[in-house]
Symmetry: C2
Protein backbone atom coordinates (compact mmCIF):
# COMPACT_ATOMS: atom_id res chain seq x y z
CA UNK A 1 0.00 0.00 0.00
CA UNK A 2 1.36 3.42 -0.90
CA UNK A 3 0.74 6.71 0.87
CA UNK A 4 -2.08 7.94 -1.32
CA UNK A 5 -3.93 4.63 -0.89
CA UNK A 6 -3.48 4.93 2.85
CA UNK A 7 -4.83 8.49 2.86
CA UNK A 8 -7.79 7.52 0.75
CA UNK A 9 -8.56 4.53 3.02
CA UNK A 10 -8.47 6.83 6.04
CA UNK A 11 -10.97 9.23 4.52
CA UNK A 12 -13.19 6.48 3.19
CA UNK A 13 -13.38 4.70 6.54
CA UNK A 14 -13.33 7.96 8.50
CA UNK A 15 -10.77 6.39 10.74
CA UNK A 16 -7.08 6.44 11.49
CA UNK A 17 -7.25 3.64 14.02
CA UNK A 18 -4.71 0.84 13.99
CA UNK A 19 -5.47 -2.18 16.13
CA UNK A 20 -2.45 -3.59 17.94
CA UNK A 21 -2.44 -7.37 17.78
CA UNK A 22 -0.48 -7.85 21.03
CA UNK A 23 -2.04 -11.26 21.35
CA UNK A 24 -1.11 -13.03 24.58
CA UNK A 25 -2.17 -16.62 25.14
CA UNK A 26 -2.67 -15.81 28.84
CA UNK A 27 -5.09 -12.96 28.18
CA UNK A 28 -7.35 -14.26 25.43
CA UNK A 29 -10.74 -15.81 26.31
CA UNK A 30 -10.40 -19.32 27.69
CA UNK A 31 -12.90 -20.89 25.27
CA UNK A 32 -10.45 -20.25 22.40
CA UNK A 33 -7.86 -22.56 23.91
CA UNK A 34 -9.67 -25.60 22.48
CA UNK A 35 -8.65 -24.54 18.95
CA UNK A 36 -5.47 -25.83 17.32
CA UNK A 37 -4.20 -22.25 17.00
CA UNK A 38 -5.90 -20.06 19.62
CA UNK A 39 -3.77 -17.01 18.76
CA UNK A 40 -4.86 -17.07 15.14
CA UNK A 41 -8.52 -17.73 16.08
CA UNK A 42 -8.42 -14.70 18.35
CA UNK A 43 -6.80 -12.49 15.70
CA UNK A 44 -9.24 -13.67 13.06
CA UNK A 45 -12.23 -12.83 15.26
CA UNK A 46 -10.80 -9.39 16.08
CA UNK A 47 -10.12 -8.70 12.40
CA UNK A 48 -13.59 -9.88 11.37
CA UNK A 49 -15.13 -7.59 13.99
CA UNK A 50 -13.08 -4.46 13.30
CA UNK A 51 -11.71 -4.42 9.72
CA UNK A 52 -14.21 -1.80 8.54
CA UNK A 53 -13.44 0.49 11.49
CA UNK A 54 -9.67 0.16 11.53
CA UNK A 55 -7.27 1.16 8.76
CA UNK A 56 -4.47 -1.05 9.99
CA UNK A 57 -3.27 -3.86 12.21
CA UNK A 58 0.01 -3.96 14.08
CA UNK A 59 1.13 -7.35 15.32
CA UNK A 60 3.72 -6.91 18.03
CA UNK A 61 6.40 -9.41 17.07
CA UNK A 62 7.50 -10.15 20.62
CA UNK A 63 4.18 -11.76 21.43
CA UNK A 64 4.56 -14.22 18.56
CA UNK A 65 8.26 -14.90 18.97
CA UNK A 66 7.82 -15.74 22.63
CA UNK A 67 5.78 -18.78 21.55
CA UNK A 68 8.48 -20.14 19.29
CA UNK A 69 7.53 -22.04 16.14
CA UNK A 70 3.85 -21.97 17.06
CA UNK A 71 3.83 -18.21 17.41
CA UNK A 72 5.62 -17.78 14.09
CA UNK A 73 2.94 -19.95 12.45
CA UNK A 74 0.13 -17.92 14.07
CA UNK A 75 1.66 -14.75 12.65
CA UNK A 76 1.95 -16.27 9.16
CA UNK A 77 -1.69 -17.29 9.27
CA UNK A 78 -2.74 -13.86 10.50
CA UNK A 79 -0.90 -12.15 7.66
CA UNK A 80 -2.36 -14.60 5.13
CA UNK A 81 -5.80 -13.82 6.49
CA UNK A 82 -5.19 -10.07 6.26
CA UNK A 83 -4.15 -10.41 2.60
CA UNK A 84 -7.82 -10.30 1.56
CA UNK A 85 -7.90 -6.68 2.78
CA UNK A 86 -4.66 -5.61 1.16
CA UNK A 87 -6.22 -2.55 -0.49
CA UNK A 88 -7.95 -1.30 2.64
CA UNK A 89 -5.72 -2.38 5.52
CA UNK A 90 -2.19 -1.15 6.26
CA UNK A 91 -0.06 -3.71 8.09
CA UNK A 92 2.72 -2.86 10.51
CA UNK A 93 5.34 -5.29 11.80
CA UNK A 94 6.13 -3.88 15.21
CA UNK A 95 9.59 -5.33 15.33
CA UNK A 96 11.87 -2.38 16.20
CA UNK A 97 14.73 -3.92 14.25
CA UNK A 98 17.94 -2.18 13.18
CA UNK A 99 21.36 -3.68 12.56
CA UNK A 100 24.37 -3.33 10.27
CA UNK A 101 23.51 -3.11 6.58
CA UNK A 102 23.71 -6.76 5.50
CA UNK A 103 21.69 -7.79 8.55
CA UNK A 104 19.02 -5.11 8.11
CA UNK A 105 18.69 -6.42 4.57
CA UNK A 106 17.74 -9.83 5.97
CA UNK A 107 15.17 -8.25 8.29
CA UNK A 108 13.70 -6.31 5.37
CA UNK A 109 13.41 -9.58 3.46
CA UNK A 110 11.67 -11.19 6.44
CA UNK A 111 9.02 -8.54 6.93
CA UNK A 112 8.50 -7.22 3.40
CA UNK A 113 8.92 -10.43 1.38
CA UNK A 114 8.23 -13.38 3.64
CA UNK A 115 5.33 -11.84 5.60
CA UNK A 116 4.43 -9.13 3.08
CA UNK A 117 3.93 -6.39 5.68
CA UNK A 118 3.40 -2.84 4.41
CA UNK A 119 5.74 -1.42 7.03
CA UNK A 120 8.13 -2.23 9.84
CA UNK A 121 9.20 -0.29 12.91
CA UNK A 122 12.95 0.36 13.04
CA UNK A 123 15.23 1.65 15.83
CA UNK A 124 17.49 4.56 14.84
CA UNK A 125 20.52 4.10 17.11
CA UNK A 126 22.72 2.49 14.43
CA UNK A 127 22.08 5.21 11.86
CA UNK A 128 21.58 5.40 8.13
CA UNK A 129 22.93 2.09 6.85
CA UNK A 130 20.75 0.25 9.39
CA UNK A 131 17.68 1.92 7.87
CA UNK A 132 18.35 2.16 4.13
CA UNK A 133 18.05 -1.58 3.35
CA UNK A 134 14.37 -1.29 4.30
CA UNK A 135 13.95 1.58 1.84
CA UNK A 136 14.75 -0.52 -1.20
CA UNK A 137 11.14 -1.70 -1.45
CA UNK A 138 8.49 0.23 -3.38
CA UNK A 139 5.23 0.99 -1.53
CA UNK A 140 6.68 -0.23 1.76
CA UNK A 141 7.46 1.97 4.76
CA UNK A 142 10.03 2.26 7.50
CA UNK A 143 8.46 3.56 10.70
CA UNK A 144 11.41 4.94 12.62
CA UNK A 145 11.37 5.38 16.40
CA UNK A 146 11.34 9.11 17.05
CA UNK A 147 9.94 9.77 20.50
CA UNK A 148 8.68 6.64 22.22
CA UNK A 149 5.77 6.31 24.64
CA UNK A 150 7.56 4.59 27.51
CA UNK A 151 9.06 6.10 30.65
CA UNK A 152 12.60 5.28 29.48
CA UNK A 153 12.12 7.63 26.52
CA UNK A 154 13.46 10.33 28.83
CA UNK A 155 16.77 8.52 29.41
CA UNK A 156 18.36 9.39 26.05
CA UNK A 157 15.80 10.79 23.61
CA UNK A 158 15.65 14.20 25.32
CA UNK A 159 19.41 14.71 25.47
CA UNK A 160 20.37 18.18 24.30
CA UNK A 161 22.88 17.82 21.48
CA UNK A 162 23.62 21.48 20.78
CA UNK A 163 21.38 21.44 17.70
CA UNK A 164 18.23 20.13 19.32
CA UNK A 165 17.25 17.15 21.38
CA UNK A 166 18.33 13.69 20.25
CA UNK A 167 14.84 12.67 19.11
CA UNK A 168 14.48 15.90 17.12
CA UNK A 169 17.75 15.26 15.35
CA UNK A 170 16.71 11.70 14.55
CA UNK A 171 13.51 13.06 12.97
CA UNK A 172 15.40 15.71 11.03
CA UNK A 173 18.25 13.49 9.88
CA UNK A 174 16.00 10.65 8.71
CA UNK A 175 14.16 13.01 6.37
CA UNK A 176 17.41 13.19 4.40
CA UNK A 177 17.14 9.43 3.85
CA UNK A 178 13.55 9.07 2.68
CA UNK A 179 10.41 10.94 1.67
CA UNK A 180 6.97 10.60 3.29
CA UNK A 181 6.26 7.94 0.63
CA UNK A 182 8.63 5.57 2.43
CA UNK A 183 9.14 6.82 5.94
CA UNK A 184 6.99 7.49 9.00
CA UNK A 185 7.87 8.12 12.63
CA UNK A 186 6.79 6.56 15.91
CA UNK A 187 5.71 9.37 18.23
CA UNK A 188 4.36 8.15 21.56
CA UNK A 189 0.97 9.37 22.73
CA UNK A 190 2.34 10.00 26.19
CA UNK A 191 4.04 13.21 25.00
CA UNK A 192 1.01 15.18 23.71
CA UNK A 193 2.68 18.49 24.51
CA UNK A 194 5.42 17.71 21.97
CA UNK A 195 3.13 17.00 19.02
CA UNK A 196 2.73 20.56 17.72
CA UNK A 197 6.41 21.04 17.64
CA UNK A 198 7.13 17.60 16.10
CA UNK A 199 4.50 18.20 13.42
CA UNK A 200 6.37 21.38 12.51
CA UNK A 201 9.61 19.37 12.24
CA UNK A 202 8.07 16.86 9.82
CA UNK A 203 4.92 18.40 8.31
CA UNK A 204 4.25 15.80 5.63
CA UNK A 205 5.21 12.57 7.36
CA UNK A 206 2.82 10.13 8.95
CA UNK A 207 3.23 9.48 12.67
CA UNK A 208 2.39 6.12 14.20
CA UNK A 209 1.12 6.94 17.68
CA UNK A 210 1.16 4.17 20.28
CA UNK A 211 0.27 4.67 23.92
CA UNK A 212 -3.32 5.88 23.67
CA UNK A 213 -5.46 3.97 26.17
CA UNK A 214 -3.57 1.63 28.49
CA UNK A 215 -0.47 3.82 28.50
CA UNK A 216 -2.49 6.98 29.19
CA UNK A 217 -2.06 9.08 26.03
CA UNK A 218 -4.60 11.85 25.39
CA UNK A 219 -6.20 11.42 21.95
CA UNK A 220 -7.84 14.80 21.81
CA UNK A 221 -4.68 16.77 22.35
CA UNK A 222 -2.76 14.55 19.93
CA UNK A 223 -5.29 15.13 17.17
CA UNK A 224 -5.40 18.87 17.79
CA UNK A 225 -1.64 19.13 17.61
CA UNK A 226 -0.66 16.28 15.34
CA UNK A 227 -3.03 16.12 12.39
CA UNK A 228 -1.82 17.49 9.07
CA UNK A 229 -3.86 18.26 5.98
CA UNK A 230 -3.97 14.62 4.83
CA UNK A 231 -4.43 13.28 8.37
CA UNK A 232 -0.84 12.23 9.03
CA UNK A 233 -1.67 10.16 12.11
CA UNK A 234 -2.14 6.46 12.67
CA UNK A 235 -3.25 5.97 16.25
CA UNK A 236 -2.63 2.53 17.62
CA UNK A 237 -4.75 0.98 20.31
CA UNK A 238 -4.13 -2.57 21.49
CA UNK A 239 -5.24 -3.64 24.95
CA UNK A 240 -8.19 -1.23 25.08
CA UNK A 241 -9.70 -2.90 22.02
CA UNK A 242 -8.55 -6.49 21.85
CA UNK A 243 -9.04 -7.12 25.56
CA UNK A 244 -12.29 -5.14 25.93
CA UNK A 245 -13.81 -8.39 27.22
CA UNK A 246 -12.24 -11.75 27.89
CA UNK A 247 -15.47 -13.65 27.60
CA UNK A 248 -17.27 -15.16 24.62
CA UNK A 249 -18.40 -11.67 23.57
CA UNK A 250 -14.81 -10.45 23.16
CA UNK A 251 -15.14 -9.68 19.44
CA UNK A 252 -18.33 -7.68 19.92
CA UNK A 253 -16.76 -5.80 22.80
CA UNK A 254 -13.71 -5.08 20.65
CA UNK A 255 -15.97 -3.78 17.89
CA UNK A 256 -17.85 -1.54 20.32
CA UNK A 257 -14.62 0.03 21.56
CA UNK A 258 -13.22 0.38 18.05
CA UNK A 259 -16.46 2.02 16.97
CA UNK A 260 -16.34 4.58 19.73
CA UNK A 261 -12.77 5.49 18.76
CA UNK A 262 -13.73 5.63 15.06
CA UNK A 263 -16.64 8.00 15.78
CA UNK A 264 -14.30 10.31 17.65
CA UNK A 265 -11.81 10.15 14.78
CA UNK A 266 -14.44 10.93 12.16
CA UNK A 267 -15.09 14.27 13.88
CA UNK A 268 -11.44 15.25 13.54
CA UNK A 269 -11.37 14.16 9.91
CA UNK A 270 -14.53 16.09 9.14
CA UNK A 271 -13.03 19.19 10.72
CA UNK A 272 -9.96 18.73 8.48
CA UNK A 273 -11.92 18.73 5.27
CA UNK A 274 -14.49 21.32 6.38
CA UNK B 1 26.63 -19.17 32.45
CA UNK B 2 27.77 -16.52 34.93
CA UNK B 3 30.70 -14.16 34.59
CA UNK B 4 33.21 -16.16 36.59
CA UNK B 5 32.42 -19.27 34.53
CA UNK B 6 32.94 -17.23 31.38
CA UNK B 7 36.27 -15.91 32.62
CA UNK B 8 37.44 -19.36 33.60
CA UNK B 9 36.40 -20.79 30.20
CA UNK B 10 38.35 -18.03 28.47
CA UNK B 11 41.51 -18.82 30.41
CA UNK B 12 41.09 -22.57 30.07
CA UNK B 13 40.62 -22.42 26.30
CA UNK B 14 43.08 -19.54 25.91
CA UNK B 15 40.55 -17.89 23.68
CA UNK B 16 37.99 -15.09 23.68
CA UNK B 17 36.70 -15.91 20.22
CA UNK B 18 33.00 -15.98 19.52
CA UNK B 19 31.92 -17.47 16.22
CA UNK B 20 29.09 -15.59 14.53
CA UNK B 21 26.55 -17.99 13.10
CA UNK B 22 25.35 -15.65 10.34
CA UNK B 23 24.29 -18.68 8.37
CA UNK B 24 22.97 -17.82 4.91
CA UNK B 25 21.47 -20.52 2.73
CA UNK B 26 22.99 -18.81 -0.32
CA UNK B 27 26.52 -18.91 1.04
CA UNK B 28 26.85 -22.36 2.56
CA UNK B 29 28.46 -25.19 0.57
CA UNK B 30 26.11 -26.60 -2.06
CA UNK B 31 26.48 -30.23 -0.98
CA UNK B 32 24.64 -29.40 2.27
CA UNK B 33 21.47 -28.50 0.42
CA UNK B 34 20.55 -32.19 0.11
CA UNK B 35 19.90 -32.32 3.88
CA UNK B 36 16.45 -31.70 5.34
CA UNK B 37 17.83 -28.76 7.33
CA UNK B 38 20.97 -27.43 5.61
CA UNK B 39 21.29 -24.46 8.01
CA UNK B 40 21.43 -26.74 11.03
CA UNK B 41 23.81 -29.18 9.29
CA UNK B 42 26.13 -26.29 8.56
CA UNK B 43 25.98 -24.93 12.11
CA UNK B 44 26.53 -28.40 13.56
CA UNK B 45 29.63 -28.94 11.43
CA UNK B 46 30.99 -25.50 12.36
CA UNK B 47 30.35 -26.15 16.05
CA UNK B 48 31.93 -29.62 15.89
CA UNK B 49 35.01 -28.13 14.25
CA UNK B 50 35.47 -25.09 16.51
CA UNK B 51 33.90 -25.64 19.96
CA UNK B 52 37.25 -26.19 21.66
CA UNK B 53 38.70 -23.02 20.12
CA UNK B 54 35.73 -20.70 20.60
CA UNK B 55 34.18 -19.64 23.89
CA UNK B 56 30.88 -18.64 22.34
CA UNK B 57 28.52 -18.67 19.40
CA UNK B 58 26.40 -15.78 18.24
CA UNK B 59 23.53 -16.62 15.91
CA UNK B 60 22.38 -13.51 14.12
CA UNK B 61 18.62 -13.71 14.39
CA UNK B 62 17.93 -11.95 11.10
CA UNK B 63 19.42 -14.82 9.13
CA UNK B 64 17.04 -17.30 10.75
CA UNK B 65 13.94 -15.11 10.73
CA UNK B 66 14.32 -14.41 7.04
CA UNK B 67 13.63 -18.11 6.41
CA UNK B 68 10.36 -18.10 8.33
CA UNK B 69 9.28 -21.22 10.20
CA UNK B 70 12.16 -23.24 8.78
CA UNK B 71 14.72 -20.75 10.03
CA UNK B 72 13.16 -20.68 13.46
CA UNK B 73 13.38 -24.48 13.57
CA UNK B 74 17.05 -24.41 12.50
CA UNK B 75 17.79 -22.00 15.33
CA UNK B 76 15.99 -24.20 17.87
CA UNK B 77 17.99 -27.21 16.74
CA UNK B 78 21.24 -25.26 16.87
CA UNK B 79 20.53 -24.16 20.44
CA UNK B 80 19.56 -27.69 21.44
CA UNK B 81 22.82 -28.94 19.96
CA UNK B 82 24.82 -26.29 21.82
CA UNK B 83 23.22 -27.32 25.12
CA UNK B 84 25.79 -30.13 25.46
CA UNK B 85 28.46 -27.43 25.86
CA UNK B 86 26.52 -25.28 28.30
CA UNK B 87 29.41 -25.09 30.79
CA UNK B 88 32.02 -24.17 28.22
CA UNK B 89 30.16 -22.15 25.58
CA UNK B 90 28.54 -18.74 26.03
CA UNK B 91 25.61 -18.17 23.69
CA UNK B 92 24.55 -14.78 22.35
CA UNK B 93 21.23 -14.04 20.63
CA UNK B 94 22.17 -11.19 18.32
CA UNK B 95 18.69 -9.76 18.18
CA UNK B 96 19.14 -6.05 19.03
CA UNK B 97 15.70 -5.93 20.62
CA UNK B 98 14.34 -3.17 22.87
CA UNK B 99 10.74 -2.10 23.35
CA UNK B 100 8.38 -0.85 26.06
CA UNK B 101 8.52 -2.82 29.30
CA UNK B 102 5.79 -5.41 28.78
CA UNK B 103 7.10 -6.13 25.27
CA UNK B 104 10.73 -6.40 26.32
CA UNK B 105 9.52 -8.91 28.89
CA UNK B 106 8.19 -11.08 26.06
CA UNK B 107 11.51 -10.83 24.21
CA UNK B 108 13.36 -11.80 27.38
CA UNK B 109 11.10 -14.83 27.67
CA UNK B 110 11.80 -15.75 24.04
CA UNK B 111 15.56 -15.65 24.26
CA UNK B 112 16.22 -16.65 27.87
CA UNK B 113 13.46 -19.20 28.41
CA UNK B 114 12.39 -20.56 25.05
CA UNK B 115 15.86 -20.69 23.45
CA UNK B 116 17.89 -20.66 26.67
CA UNK B 117 20.49 -18.20 25.40
CA UNK B 118 23.03 -16.87 27.92
CA UNK B 119 22.70 -13.34 26.58
CA UNK B 120 20.90 -11.09 24.13
CA UNK B 121 21.93 -7.89 22.38
CA UNK B 122 19.65 -4.94 23.17
CA UNK B 123 19.30 -1.47 21.60
CA UNK B 124 19.42 1.43 24.09
CA UNK B 125 17.27 4.09 22.37
CA UNK B 126 14.14 3.43 24.46
CA UNK B 127 15.98 3.63 27.79
CA UNK B 128 15.84 1.86 31.11
CA UNK B 129 12.45 0.15 31.10
CA UNK B 130 13.24 -1.38 27.71
CA UNK B 131 16.33 -3.00 29.24
CA UNK B 132 15.37 -3.96 32.79
CA UNK B 133 12.99 -6.83 31.87
CA UNK B 134 16.04 -8.67 30.52
CA UNK B 135 17.81 -8.18 33.86
CA UNK B 136 15.34 -10.23 35.84
CA UNK B 137 17.15 -13.45 34.95
CA UNK B 138 20.01 -14.82 37.03
CA UNK B 139 23.22 -15.72 35.15
CA UNK B 140 21.91 -14.15 31.95
CA UNK B 141 23.31 -11.04 30.30
CA UNK B 142 22.10 -8.01 28.41
CA UNK B 143 24.65 -6.90 25.84
CA UNK B 144 23.73 -3.28 25.19
CA UNK B 145 24.70 -1.47 21.99
CA UNK B 146 27.32 1.09 22.98
CA UNK B 147 29.34 2.01 19.91
CA UNK B 148 28.47 -0.05 16.86
CA UNK B 149 30.78 -1.19 14.06
CA UNK B 150 28.83 0.14 11.09
CA UNK B 151 29.25 3.38 9.16
CA UNK B 152 25.92 4.69 10.47
CA UNK B 153 27.33 4.63 14.01
CA UNK B 154 28.52 8.16 13.30
CA UNK B 155 25.00 9.46 12.59
CA UNK B 156 23.86 9.66 16.22
CA UNK B 157 26.25 7.82 18.54
CA UNK B 158 28.92 10.54 18.42
CA UNK B 159 26.52 13.43 19.14
CA UNK B 160 27.94 15.73 21.79
CA UNK B 161 25.40 15.99 24.59
CA UNK B 162 27.15 18.45 26.89
CA UNK B 163 28.24 15.67 29.23
CA UNK B 164 29.94 13.48 26.68
CA UNK B 165 29.03 11.80 23.44
CA UNK B 166 25.76 9.90 23.20
CA UNK B 167 27.44 6.48 23.19
CA UNK B 168 29.52 7.43 26.24
CA UNK B 169 26.40 8.45 28.13
CA UNK B 170 24.67 5.21 27.18
CA UNK B 171 27.63 3.31 28.60
CA UNK B 172 27.69 5.39 31.78
CA UNK B 173 23.94 5.42 32.36
CA UNK B 174 23.50 1.68 31.83
CA UNK B 175 26.01 0.95 34.60
CA UNK B 176 23.42 2.39 36.99
CA UNK B 177 21.04 -0.35 35.86
CA UNK B 178 23.23 -3.45 36.14
CA UNK B 179 26.58 -4.78 37.29
CA UNK B 180 29.14 -6.59 35.11
CA UNK B 181 27.45 -9.82 36.27
CA UNK B 182 24.45 -8.99 34.07
CA UNK B 183 25.50 -6.39 31.56
CA UNK B 184 28.04 -6.14 28.73
CA UNK B 185 28.42 -3.65 25.90
CA UNK B 186 28.73 -3.98 22.13
CA UNK B 187 31.78 -1.98 21.05
CA UNK B 188 32.52 -2.24 17.34
CA UNK B 189 35.99 -3.26 16.21
CA UNK B 190 35.98 -0.50 13.61
CA UNK B 191 36.68 2.10 16.30
CA UNK B 192 39.96 0.78 17.74
CA UNK B 193 41.08 4.29 18.70
CA UNK B 194 38.15 4.56 21.12
CA UNK B 195 38.87 1.38 23.07
CA UNK B 196 41.29 2.78 25.64
CA UNK B 197 38.90 5.50 26.53
CA UNK B 198 35.83 3.19 26.61
CA UNK B 199 37.71 0.72 28.79
CA UNK B 200 38.29 3.54 31.27
CA UNK B 201 34.54 4.33 31.22
CA UNK B 202 33.59 0.74 32.07
CA UNK B 203 36.65 -1.00 33.51
CA UNK B 204 34.98 -4.19 34.73
CA UNK B 205 32.41 -4.84 32.00
CA UNK B 206 32.81 -7.29 29.15
CA UNK B 207 32.73 -5.88 25.62
CA UNK B 208 31.36 -7.89 22.73
CA UNK B 209 33.41 -6.78 19.75
CA UNK B 210 31.98 -7.39 16.29
CA UNK B 211 33.57 -6.16 13.09
CA UNK B 212 36.97 -7.89 13.20
CA UNK B 213 37.67 -9.46 9.81
CA UNK B 214 35.13 -8.69 7.08
CA UNK B 215 34.33 -5.26 8.49
CA UNK B 216 38.01 -4.37 8.87
CA UNK B 217 38.57 -4.08 12.64
CA UNK B 218 42.13 -4.33 13.92
CA UNK B 219 42.43 -7.08 16.53
CA UNK B 220 45.87 -6.13 17.79
CA UNK B 221 44.95 -2.57 18.67
CA UNK B 222 41.68 -3.67 20.24
CA UNK B 223 43.45 -6.13 22.51
CA UNK B 224 46.11 -3.64 23.50
CA UNK B 225 43.50 -1.04 24.40
CA UNK B 226 40.51 -3.11 25.41
CA UNK B 227 41.64 -6.03 27.58
CA UNK B 228 41.11 -5.75 31.31
CA UNK B 229 42.59 -7.91 34.06
CA UNK B 230 40.07 -10.71 33.56
CA UNK B 231 40.10 -10.40 29.76
CA UNK B 232 36.88 -8.39 29.35
CA UNK B 233 36.65 -8.94 25.61
CA UNK B 234 34.63 -11.32 23.47
CA UNK B 235 35.71 -10.87 19.88
CA UNK B 236 33.21 -12.04 17.32
CA UNK B 237 34.17 -13.28 13.91
CA UNK B 238 31.59 -14.59 11.49
CA UNK B 239 32.26 -14.55 7.75
CA UNK B 240 36.04 -14.97 8.14
CA UNK B 241 35.52 -18.26 9.94
CA UNK B 242 32.27 -19.81 8.79
CA UNK B 243 32.84 -19.00 5.14
CA UNK B 244 36.57 -19.77 5.09
CA UNK B 245 35.75 -22.25 2.31
CA UNK B 246 32.49 -23.03 0.60
CA UNK B 247 33.56 -26.47 -0.48
CA UNK B 248 33.36 -29.84 1.27
CA UNK B 249 36.32 -28.86 3.45
CA UNK B 250 34.43 -25.89 4.94
CA UNK B 251 34.54 -27.17 8.52
CA UNK B 252 38.30 -27.86 8.37
CA UNK B 253 38.87 -24.44 6.85
CA UNK B 254 36.75 -22.84 9.58
CA UNK B 255 38.80 -24.68 12.20
CA UNK B 256 42.07 -23.53 10.65
CA UNK B 257 40.97 -19.90 10.73
CA UNK B 258 39.58 -20.21 14.25
CA UNK B 259 42.85 -21.79 15.35
CA UNK B 260 44.93 -18.98 13.96
CA UNK B 261 42.76 -16.43 15.83
CA UNK B 262 42.93 -18.52 19.02
CA UNK B 263 46.74 -18.69 18.86
CA UNK B 264 46.88 -14.92 18.55
CA UNK B 265 44.48 -14.56 21.47
CA UNK B 266 46.47 -16.91 23.69
CA UNK B 267 49.44 -14.56 23.42
CA UNK B 268 47.39 -11.67 24.76
CA UNK B 269 45.99 -13.80 27.56
CA UNK B 270 49.44 -15.01 28.53
CA UNK B 271 50.68 -11.44 28.66
CA UNK B 272 47.76 -10.61 30.99
CA UNK B 273 48.63 -13.27 33.54
CA UNK B 274 52.40 -12.89 33.20
Amino acid sequence: MNKSQLVSTIHKKQSFLCVGLDTDINLIPKHLLQHADPIFEFNKAIIDATHDLAIGYKPNLAFYESMGLKGWASLEKTMDYLAQYKDSIFTIADAKRGDIGNTSKMYAKTFFEHFNFDSVTVAPYMGEDSVTPFLGYKDKFVILLGLTSNKGSSDFQFFETGEGKLYERVIKKAQEWATPEQLMFVIGATHPEEFKHIRALAPDYFFLVPGVGAQGGDMEKICENGLNKECGLIINSARQIIYASNDEDFADAARANALSVQIQMSKYLNALTA
